[in-house]
Every structure is written in C-alpha cells, then in structure tokens.
C-alpha cells in the first residue's frame, strides 16, 4: 500500500491490510457519499488522514473539518437535505457538543441519508470519560450499528448508508477505540463511480421540517414508526452473528469488539455457550433475542461500559414471561474499562466457574513499574509558559485547564490546571471560581483550536457579566493533540487557503481592553505579564504564543532542513540544582544515580528554551530559545 490515495480510489476489487478508519473511507467512496464533515478527536482522525491521502481533484466527495462537532453535524445534515449522501464523524464526547442537533435528526426527512460515525473510547485512552453513546441513540430514536473490526466497519457503513438513504434517516455507526485502530485484511468490492447529481433537491413541501410546539408530535410519530421499521429490518439483518454450539444451558448475548474478546476467551472450552452477537443493537431485535433467551436456561449479557442491553433484555424477558436466568453486571468494576480478552475470561469464570480450561497462570511477574504518562514534548511552548506562569502565582491561587496538549500541565512537576471539564469550559468555570473570591486569584487556560470550538461563549460571558479572572490562551498555531489539523486562525482549512481569523482580533472585537501577547519562550516577560494581569481588576487575557514544535520539527525534517543541535550540560559549571530536570522537567534532561545531569540527544530538539531556567548557566548550545 505505497499510496493510500491510489488504493482507496482503485476501480477493481482488492484486499489490503487496513485499520477500520481507513476501511470506512473506501466504504464512503463505494457508497457514493458526497459530503463528509468532522472535528478532530481520537480515535477518529485517521479517517480524515485517509481522506487527505486522496489528491483533492480526485476526491469523490467534499470534506471539511468544521469548527466543532455540532457544526459538522449541521453541515452534513444540510447537505443530506439536498439529497446528498452525507456522513459526519467524531469522537465519543464530540456527541455531547453535537447533541442539540443530533437529538433532532430522527424528526427529519433526510433525503440523502446521513451516517453518524462515533468513536467511543472505553478505557478512556484519549478522552476525559468513557461515556457509552449507545444511550444517545436511544435518546434520539436512531438505529445503531456496532462493528467489531475493520471488515465489519466497511460492510456496515455501506449498509448504514443505503438504509439511511432508503429510509430518509440518520443511522449511527458506533466504533470503539480498538475497532477504529484494529488492522486486518479487508476484501473491498469494485468501485463504480456514479454521475453526481448536484441539483439542490431540498423540498420544504415534501415533509414537515419545522418542529415547533404541536408540529412536533406528527414528526415524533414518524420518528418512532421509522424506528420500528429499523427493528423489523434488524430481526433479519445479516449483520448479527450466531455461534450455535448446541448448548441448551448457556448463552451469551454481546456486541461489537467484545464479541472478539469472547471468542478468544472461549478458546479451548469443552462446553462453550451459544453466542448471539448483535450487529444492529438498537432498536433491539426483540424476536431474535427472545428466541435466543427461550433456547437457554441462563444467558449472560456481556457488554462493555453500561448495562444498556441488559436493561432492555430483562424488560423483554419480563414482558414475555421468559423464565431464563439473565446474568448481567455484577459489581461496579463491570461498568469500568475495556472488555479485553483477559477481562472477558475473568467475567466468564465468575459467571460460570470451570467453563474455561485451567491455564497456566498468566505472566509470573509481580513487578509493578510506574506508568509513563503522555507529557509535553521537548521544546513545547506550553512547558516554557507553565514554568513562567507558575512563578507569578502562589500555591493558593487556582488554575483551570481546558482540553488540549496543555491539559498535560496538570502532571507533576507543573501541576498547572487543577480542574478539567470539557472543551471550552475553562473560562466560565474560572468565572464561577472567582465569585465571592477575594483571596485566591483565578487563572484559566485555553488552547487556540478549542478557543474556536467552544471557548468563545465563555469568554463573551466573562465580558457580558463582568467576571474577574485572567485567561491565558496557549496558542500553538494548530490542533496539536489530534495530529496538527488546521483551525480558523491558521489561514488554511482542509481544502486550501482560508481567511485567517486572528484570536486577538476576535478578542478586541468583544471589547476586551486588557490583552497581552508574548512568545511563550520569553519566560521573564511572561512571568511579569501574569503578575501585572492578576493584579488588575476585570477580565484580562494573555496570549502566550509559540508554534507546536513537534509540527515545526516534522515540517523541517520533511523539507530536509533539519539540523540537530542539542543542548549540553557543562559538568564543570553544573551545580546539580536540578531546576532543568525536576522543575522545568523537559524529558531531554536525565539524571544518574549520583545526581549528574546529562542531555538525551535522541530527544533534545535544540530549541534552547531551557537555558534561561538554569541558575548556574550550565546549559549550553542549542537554538535561540527565548532570546528573540
């Protein structure tokens, strides 16, 4: 797969090892999708990376990164109203942002069909929670598919797109982190490009589109009726999987990637339970499930995160007078984390002792090493900023984090950003922390992409309601955490040049009088600015700016302009104060058992932002680092 773009656009059938995020893009192409939109968030950004691999002029559909998930959903909805098959994709918590829009979709008559791809994150690998978005499909009366791996994601997307178009509906495809990123060989069908119909076919007379007051009820009836249509489809859907092991005593009902963990866990079992894996898990195919229940004396409902299926299945059994014993969640831990093969094995053992063959105990080691959490990169402007900001604040002051790379400032030794909620929440949270508070100064942090995503309302509110706080915008010129996507201040969008919307201009237009700007590498100046700002009354903003150095060095490398000039610690002047290792804490500084400091050259990018932190001036070499 030398060229992913060529592969995705190949006319003939082929098979290739791909992750589900890549397989989804081929499915979009084959399904005739015309419009796709997203806001970056793990585990879904590789979908956009696959789209980007196709040269713009050969890309069979329009794609944009919108400013947030709500906007992306509305864009895709609007395009679908005109008859264009559309798709929107984002991470788990992105659905909270899009929720206001999402819950209305079932009321609508969506001519082109709209597929909503969710990247849920059991295990919270890259999210602030592990919310179970299967609830949201129920809240919104929308059908939900749960693929277990790349081949299913590909096939289910095509099915979902076709159903969405046929039923003029939205359909949800819920993946989880280890489905999005799982890799396997997928067999792809031929791609037969269809002539595009650009006509704007939205017909306001064709159906009700304005749900105001009493007009809501017929629209809701249509939504509920359509959900029953999907249930009828689901009873016979080829996307359910049954494993009949001839076991009348025991059955398991599951869905998604948990099914794969179950198959691994059951390996070698002498008397494996029958298995029903639901491909379309909402609306619940009641006849299929009740027949399965009736065939077994005990049924274990095996589901990651919440007891969504369990509740519905228990209600179904009660309503139909089915006596089968249903085993569901048993303790709090069953609600937490991913259902890996070893977790599922333990779960089976607890439900049915002796079911699995006795195996030699896994790994005999009892070693427990400290975790290695993600951290700010060498040369990161946020590190330099935190180092400087901390000097201007007291231990009693309160710092509020937002989502982004700067969230990592909560880790030792910085401990900056002591509370974190969600995208854009820092300014208003800090405003609340400042009420009645005359003794502890409140400082909020916000990244630049998040500023545009959801940060602006909190800022306007701080101006409007005259809140007292200091906001520090950590501007690195990109959406760094998710892989360096453009945002409205960068002057580029996914498709090319765009008018740049500078943060400062937005802030000035809101009438904010106290705005300071500084290069985050200039620590002395930043410390002085924070001291001044927190002493002032009212709402103050500091923009601490430095380009994302990971992006910067990658781009230099790509251009062949990268020269490694690491700093060095001069052993004759180093007084082992350890400011560089323990306080500034760039990972490039390492310390031996005797306390001698050395620079790990593999890591140091030579930015030189560390030199100013050494009281003994023992750090030598590297780039200009704050001197500019």
């Amino acid at each position: 797969m030398k060229d992913m773009g060529d592969m995705l656009l190949r006319r003939q059938a082929f098979s290739e090892i791909v992750m589900a995020n890549t397989a989804l893009v081929r499915a979009m192409i084959e399904a005739g999708v015309r419009v796709a939109a997203s806001y970056p968030g793990s585990p879904t950004p590789e979908i956009a990376a696959a789209i980007a691999s196709m040269p713009a002029e050969r890309r069979p559909f329009y794609f944009e990164f919108s400013v947030n998930e709500k906007v992306a959903t509305e864009l895709a909805f609007g395009a679908a109203l005109n008859g264009h098959p559309s798709v929107v994709f984002f991470k788990s918590v992105g659905l909270n942002v899009a929720a206001d829009t999402f819950v209305q979709l079932a009321l609508m008559d969506i001519a082109g069909g709209l597929v909503v791809i969710l990247g849920d994150d059991p295990g919270a690998h890259s999210s602030q929670n592990e919310q179970d978005n299967r609830h949201f499909a129920r809240l919104a009366y929308l059908p939900l598919f749960e693929p277990a791996g790349p081949a299913e994601a590909y096939a289910m997307f095509k099915e979902a797109a076709q159903l969405a178009r046929e039923k003029r509906s939205a359909v949800v495809l819920r993946l989880t982190t280890h489905v999005c990123h799982a890799k396997e060989k997928v067999s792809f069908a031929p791609y037969r490009p269809q002539a595009a119909d650009d006509a704007p076919r939205f017909d306001p007379a064709a159906a009700a589109f304005v749900p105001i007051a009493a007009a809501v009820f017929p629209m809701k009836r249509r939504a509920l009726a359509r959900l029953e249509d999907f249930r009828a489809y689901g009873e016979g859907s080829p996307f359910h999987d049954r494993r009949d092991n001839g076991n009348e005593a025991r059955g398991v009902i599951t869905s998604g990637t948990v099914f794969l963990s179950l198959l691994d866990a059951l390996e070698g079992s002498g008397d494996p339970p029958d298995v029903l894996k639901l491909g379309l898990s909402h609306p619940l195919p009641r006849a299929l499930v009740s027949a399965f229940l009736r065939r077994h004396r005990q049924v274990l409902v095996l589901e990651e995160l919440d007891d969504v299926l369990e509740g519905e299945i228990r209600a179904l059994a009660q309503a139909q007078g089915i006596a089968t014993e249903i085993i569901g969640k048993q303790d709090m831990e069953d609600w937490i984390g991913e259902y890996t093969p070893e977790r599922v094995a333990a779960r089976l053992e607890r439900a049915w002792p002796g079911l699995l063959p006795a195996r030699p105990a896994a790994a005999g080691s009892r070693l427990a090493l400290s975790p290695r959490p993600a951290q700010l990169c060498p040369g990161c402007g946020h590190r330099s900023a935190f180092h400087a900001i901390k000097k201007a604040l007291s231990d009693r002051d309160i710092t509020v984090a937002d989502i982004g790379c700067h969230s990592l400032g909560f880790l030792p030794p910085y401990r900056m950003g002591q509370v974190l909620l969600c995208m854009g929440a820092s300014t208003a949270t800090a405003s609340g922390l400042a009420l009645f508070n005359r003794t502890r100064r409140v400082v909020a942090f916000l990244g630049d992409s998040t500023f545009f995503h959801a940060g602006i309302p909190g800022i306007i509110n701080a101006v409007f309601n005259r809140h007292e706080l200091t906001l520090i915008i950590m501007e690195n010129g990109t959406t760094a955490m998710t892989g360096h996507q453009e945002h409205p201040a960068t002057g580029k969008n996914f498709n090319g040049a765009a008018p740049a919307i500078p943060l400062r201009r937005v802030l000035e237009s809101l009438g904010i009088a106290s705005i300071r700007e500084v290069d985050a590498y200039n620590q002395e100046r930043l410390t002085a600015m924070v001291r001044e700002a927190v002493a002032e009354e009212g709402f103050k903003v500091i923009i601490a700016r430095h380009p994302c150095m990971l992006k910067f060095t990658r781009e230099k490398r790509r251009l062949g302009k990268w020269r490694r000039t690491p700093v060095a610690v001069n052993p004759s002047t180093c007084r082992r104060i350890h400011e560089c290792v323990s306080v500034f804490a760039c990972p490039s500084f390492q310390v031996d058992g005797e306390g001698a400091v050395r620079v790990q050259d593999d890591l140091c990018i030579g930015d030189g932002s560390c030199r100013q932190t050494c009281p003994a001036a023992a750090i030598e070499g590297g780039g200009p680092g704050g001197a500019q």
């Binding site: 090892i17 963990s261 890996t340 290695r372």
Partner: protein, 194 residues
C-alpha cells in the same frame, strides 16, 4: 503459544517508531502467508507516553489485542518499557528483544525511582526462563532508525516463526518510498545479514 499462533506485543515511547515497526512485522507476516491482525495505540500516547502495539499471527486469533501474560515475543525500543512489557505481557519462557535506549520516565527524572538497569531485566528474564536479546548500535546516524536495528535482529535470529528478512524487505517496500526506503533498507540489510 497455541498451534500455529504467535502473539507479539511491541512497546516503546511515543516518537520512537513503534508504529512503523509493528506495521512492518504485520505486513511481513502477510507476505509470509500468515493470517494477521493487530492494533496500535494512538492519540495521547504519541506525546512521549508509553506506546504499545499488538500483532497477532496465525489463524484462530479473533481480538486484535494480545492478552496480558500471553505474548510469545515482546519487542521494546526502550529499557524501562522493555521491563514493563516483559513483566505485563510476556509469557514465561517467551522472548524479549529490546533496543537499549534509555528515555527516563518522569518518576526517574524526579528521582522518585531508580533508573531500570540491565540487571533488572536480566533478573526478570532469568526468573521466568525468558530469552533476552539486547540490541544496541553506537553507529546509527539517526535515533529514529533504532527500530530498524531491532527488526534486523528479529530477522537475523528468526524470532518470528515463518518470517524472514525477505518478507520484511517486501513489507518495507510496501510502506516506504524514496530516500526513506533506501536509508532504512540499507541499514536493515547491513544488520540482518551480519
């Protein structure tokens, strides 16, 4: 290991090139005619945190995840992660191959814990009948090619049953192009041949 199945757990620190290494092994195994599946950790982990990748070879594997304590081979690109990976994922009697780079984790840099030394790895491996293979080359022009040095050693010693240097070269040819391919292939050939 189950008949015909081979589970590999790869671990390193974000930025070390675990992704390319695992993708190369996956594709090399495919070239060797084995059924393959796997998964990488993405997202936050790329920011200097622990990065892991699971590769499962042979028919009959379902989940892309290697079960803890069941890997036949652990491949690590950093010494602390080598010990962590072996302790958590390697089966007793398995093989650990690691590049002996040291990227101290925060707890070591803050002097809350001692750096993991070669002896700690030896002790762990000896007590669990693990074969340990240390890789270190003082002559690499670019630290981002440490993954190629490890790949070459895996092939030279035949640590993945059925997968040889030719399969790995074909996989690299699938994944890289131009100067990158030339550079990596040249290093791989020099080390895998020796």
């Amino acid at each position: 290991m189950n008949a015909g199945r081979f589970d590999i757990y790869l671990v390193g620190v974000g930025g070390q090139g675990i992704g390319l290494l695992s993708e190369t092994l996956l594709r090399a195994a495919d070239h060797a005619g084995l059924a393959v599946r796997g998964v990488d950790t993405h997202g936050l982990a790329q920011r200097g945190g622990m990065v892991a990748s699971h590769v499962r070879l042979g028919a009959g594997a379902h989940s892309p995840l290697v079960a803890a304590g069941r890997a036949d081979l652990v491949v690590a690109l950093e010494r602390h992660e080598a010990l962590r990976g072996a302790a958590a994922y390697l089966r007793d009697g398995g093989t650990l191959v690691y590049y002996d780079a040291v990227w101290q984790p925060l707890s070591v840099r803050l002097r809350q814990e001692a750096e993991v030394g070669a002896a700690a790895i030896d002790d762990e491996c000896r007590s669990r009948a693990i074969r340990a293979v240390r890789v270190f080359r003082g002559d690499l022009s670019d630290p981002r090619m440490q993954n190629m040095a490890v790949l070459a050693e895996i092939c030279r010693l035949g640590l993945v049953p059925g997968v040889n240097a030719g399969h790995c070269e074909a996989a690299l040819d699938d994944l890289l192009a131009g100067a990158m391919l030339e550079k990596n292939l040249a290093l791989f050939r020099r080390l895998a041949g020796g």
